[in-house]
Symmetry: C2
Subunit: 569 residues, 2 copies
């Protein structure tokens, strides 16, 4: 394409409202344009990138037997009432009424529509397994849409759904999808990790996130270099051998700690380090009260707590609930607690000879508290993985931590949707069974944005070859007749050789052209300028390097083709 | 693809609620599934067809310099208020509120978004012309969604928008688009006509519809075989030489016609043929009252009236308005009429020596009324083209009429949107000018449906090659080892030869397989059966013919390739 005829509204200055790199650079490179909060138009360069991501995703979905379909964005409420999510889903579900006052929502995800579709179609075990997918526009009415395509309200997602006869089949579909996801992000040219993840509101009990590694990522990943285990810190399995062999002879003792409520305050006041104190947090899990204890410098993690308790849900107790149950908080502790409250203790505490805990009395703490002597302690893995923690998988290496951006998420759903929506089949014996499901998402726009978060420099984007809007920027310097003739000819030859080229044929200064090229970030820049051309030479430079090669005109196409070999860029 | 592993829920019986052929056959062939009224999921076969239409459209849009973009479906009300359409557009515009109670609509079309986009970007005449397009999901909340993809609420449309410095440029963009549309529907393998059309609510004053010819079409097209002129009957230019040379000596005369109001009643009562009577209709056009007269067997056409009067709008007068202006209706006529009402007369009436009109008096008509003797008559072309009318373009041949389905519509918009939305540029002299626009739509789903309306038989769809979900159905009869081996091998060879094949490997009776093949309508059927195979033969049959060829196994791929040559199918 000729730059002069394209809609590429690049900007020299950073837009005021863009906080993250990818948002800033996609706006500056003229790839997207804001229409409303969290709602964008994709301009030619941006759409090309999304189409490249989509095509890779499509090919890999097809390779595991995925069938492409397209479901509607407007979904009738009745389907969501069947699954129960019409009332469960918060205000992120944009609800609307049509002209006949019938309730609809804009689809944030398509479990209901696809389950209904397949349940109508599937009668027999002979029709299973099946996997369908779509690449489709979704809507989630985020409270604070921000970060451009990273957290938009209207966005493009690939969502796939698998249907199997039983759990073994569903796990097999899940594994195939896991492999396909690996290939997708590998082909996109991204550095990423597949990590164990929480199942969240989608439900089910097996889940992986695919995280693109980038310093600007919102998620924290614990990774073990020894065994390769990786998980969101909210879920990472931490190794702590439970060990209650430490002896503490002294009985517990009440100490005055006037107005000292937090662990930091207590540690300071008593002159001990914070890892000698204990943090006490009250939760509700499946409607039952829970007191959870962890080391003063650690954090109790709700996801881990829920998993450890095998609970359907867990959340912080509200102040109101706590007040009714135990009176004023601030000096809570496990000793002498209302026995209706279950006490769970992070395993790390089992290594401490004694604890300093609240005394359940205003302005007092207890020292020399011993687990299972002074209160019944149930040891579980409860704290978010943190520096120094040992991998729970291999029990050998300490975790290394990375920041990541979640670009894909796969879930084993079981019968969470097929059960309430009665999606069944007849097995070999003619018995009715419930279909086992999985669901699998990839944020198409977010993958493009994550690629930028991972691959950029001060001048702009440094696209991986597979996602670049064009492989080559052909920059023509000046309007000299010979330069124009040569550049035009090179442009045509590149097109003939199926090289995707953005030809900067504008009547602009070299500085402007080079700056735009660096901003847009195509992997290879080819420059036709008067001075080099007099020597029969063309300049070729890779976006990711500062090195400029001067190549003879008659061998430049071959040279460029080499640069575009997948191993090179 | 293997049929056994695909989601193709074919039906033997006609679904109850599908009235038109394409709706019925797309449901029966398992191409679409209803989710709500006018809202469908596209299943694998259906989506493949839509993708084929889309790809042809995309290539032809690119070939005329169109740049692909993607605009959002959720559009902020403020843009629609700028253009004025927020209040003008009826309830087909689905309005909604986000969680912050901000007004949005689901885009039925994107003039506002694209005008805002381009107006922000375009500063100088040097950036023009530009054409952008998208293939995108739209929503129109139709009162009576029906006919499957022919009149859906959520549907896929290609919409393109051109931006030019002046009218000449805009007309040039329009002409390019016209040519691209020709190529698109030609490549789709459809019989169609480009016809002059009304600009309707989109505005502007130059417009063509692309109509796929089918007996089931809702539109009527007048076509001249002599000069090639074609137009919607609402607009077709009819040739009538105005001729007031006929003389009528008798003065007009009041005749008693008790309770005879309609032309048919009056003709019967007076014992004359209906084409001797006159139909009188009251309109409002640009807030002024109009009385329009035409022959009793003709129809006054609003679009023609509006065009003839150079009015911005024209509509039937309401009963209330008529009552206030002229009293009770039923015996209205032009003689002695309130002079504030303008009288326009279809040119056909100029050939009649005298007219029978209402007397403006209950139960009376006037006979021997002469135009421009008894009332001032302004002769215009006002009636919908009808049988016997002569083409107004060449003034030679009578029109031939076709039924058609509108699949594309192109409009020259002028400054209808750029003016209120202030989309301007600076010309060579630095003067601010308003951008001239055009807009161009193609219904992707409707094109697929129209292809079916045009190409089907009692057994199912007969796809044009370019739109077929697969080029070939490979039907395996029985489970005989040799048959399975041969069919599997043929399947692989076809894939290697880039032949798109649907391999019916199901364990079903031949009758079921052939019926499904005929229903789905792939252009070529290849059958591997035990009996023929013993003779080393494979059966090949085109969907559009009853002839079955028996071809030697080793030359069957070549034979199929020949069948798939574009000229063949």
């Amino acid at each position: 394409m000729r730059h002069s005829q394209m809609l590429i509204p690049t900007m020299k200055e950073d837009p005021a409202d863009a906080q993250v790199v990818s948002h800033r650079l996609m706006l500056r490179a003229g790839m997207i344009k804001r229409v409303a909060a969290g709602i964008y138009s994709y301009l030619p360069l941006g759409l090309r990138v999304l189409q490249k991501v989509s095509q890779i995703v499509r090919e890999e979905m097809n390779s595991v037997g995925g069938q492409e379909i397209l479901m509607p964005m407007a979904q009738p409420a009745e389907l969501w009432k069947k699954s129960g999510r019409w009332s469960e889903y918060g205000p992120e579900l944009l609800r609307l009424k049509d002209r006949k006052q019938a309730d609809f929502c804009l689809g944030p995800t398509h479990e209901e529509v696809v389950t209904e579709l397949m349940s109508d179609h599937i009668k027999s075990y002979r029709q299973l397994p099946q996997t369908v997918y779509q690449i489709q526009t979704k809507f989630r009415d985020e409270t604070r849409p921000r970060f451009g395509l990273m957290r938009a309200r209207e966005f493009i997602m690939k969502d796939a759904y698998s249907f199997d006869v039983d759990q073994a089949g569903a796990i097999c579909s899940y594994e195939k999808m896991y492999q396909a996801y690996w290939r997708i992000f590998q082909r996109c040219g991204l550095r990423f990790k597949a990590v164990e993840a929480d199942t969240g509101s989608i439900g089910g009990n097996r889940s992986h996130e695919f995280q693109v590694l980038a310093d600007t990522g919102e998620d924290l990943i614990a990774n073990c270099d020894h065994c390769g285990y990786a998980a969101n810190i909210e879920l990472a399995n931490v190794f702590v051998a439970t060990d209650s062999s430490h002896t503490e002879e002294l009985p517990y003792e009440k100490v005055l700690t006037p107005s000292q409520k937090t662990c930091v305050e207590v540690a300071d006041f008593l002159g001990v380090s914070i890892d000698k104190t204990v943090k006490t947090v009250l939760f509700m899990a499946d409607d039952k009260p829970i007191m959870a204890l962890c080391r003063g410098d650690h954090e109790i993690n709700e996801s881990k707590l829920k998993k450890a308790l095998h609970a359907n849900w867990a959340r912080l107790m509200t102040d109101e609930e706590a007040r009714l149950l135990v009176g004023p908080t601030g000096f809570l502790g496990p000793v002498g607690l209302n026995p209706e409250i279950r006490i769970v203790v992070d395993r790390v505490l089992s290594k401490m000879p004694s604890l300093i805990t609240g005394a359940n009395q205003q302005d007092y703490h207890l020292a020399h508290v011993v687990c299972n002597r002074d209160f019944p302690a149930e040891f579980l893995d409860l704290h978010s993985a943190t520096l120094g923690d040992i991998c729970g998988q291999c029990q050998v290496s300490p975790f290394v931590f990375h920041r990541g951006i979640e670009v894909g998420h796969i879930f084993y759903l079981g019968t969470k949707y097929s059960e309430p929506m009665h999606a069944c089949y007849l097995d070999e014996k003619g018995c009715e069974k419930t279909i086992e499901m999985g669901c699998y998402g990839i944020g198409i726009g977010r993958t493009a944005a994550a690629a930028i978060e991972q691959n950029h420099d001060a001048k702009g984007i440094v696209w991986p070859l597979a996602l670049a809007p064009f492989q080559v920027s052909l920059v023509r310097l000046g309007q000299d007749e010979e330069v124009v003739k040569t550049a035009d000819q090179l442009y045509r030859t590149m097109l003939e050789n199926n090289i995707e080229v953005l030809y900067d044929d504008r009547d602009e200064r070299p500085g402007v052209k080079f700056a735009d090229h660096d901003l847009i970030g195509c992997p290879v820049r080819v420059t036709v300028g008067g001075r080099s051309l007099k020597e029969g030479l063309i300049e070729v430079k890779r976006r990711s390097s500062d090195e400029v090669s001067r190549v003879a005109l008659d061998s430049v196409i071959t040279y460029i083709a080499e640069q575009l070999a997948p191993t090179k860029v």
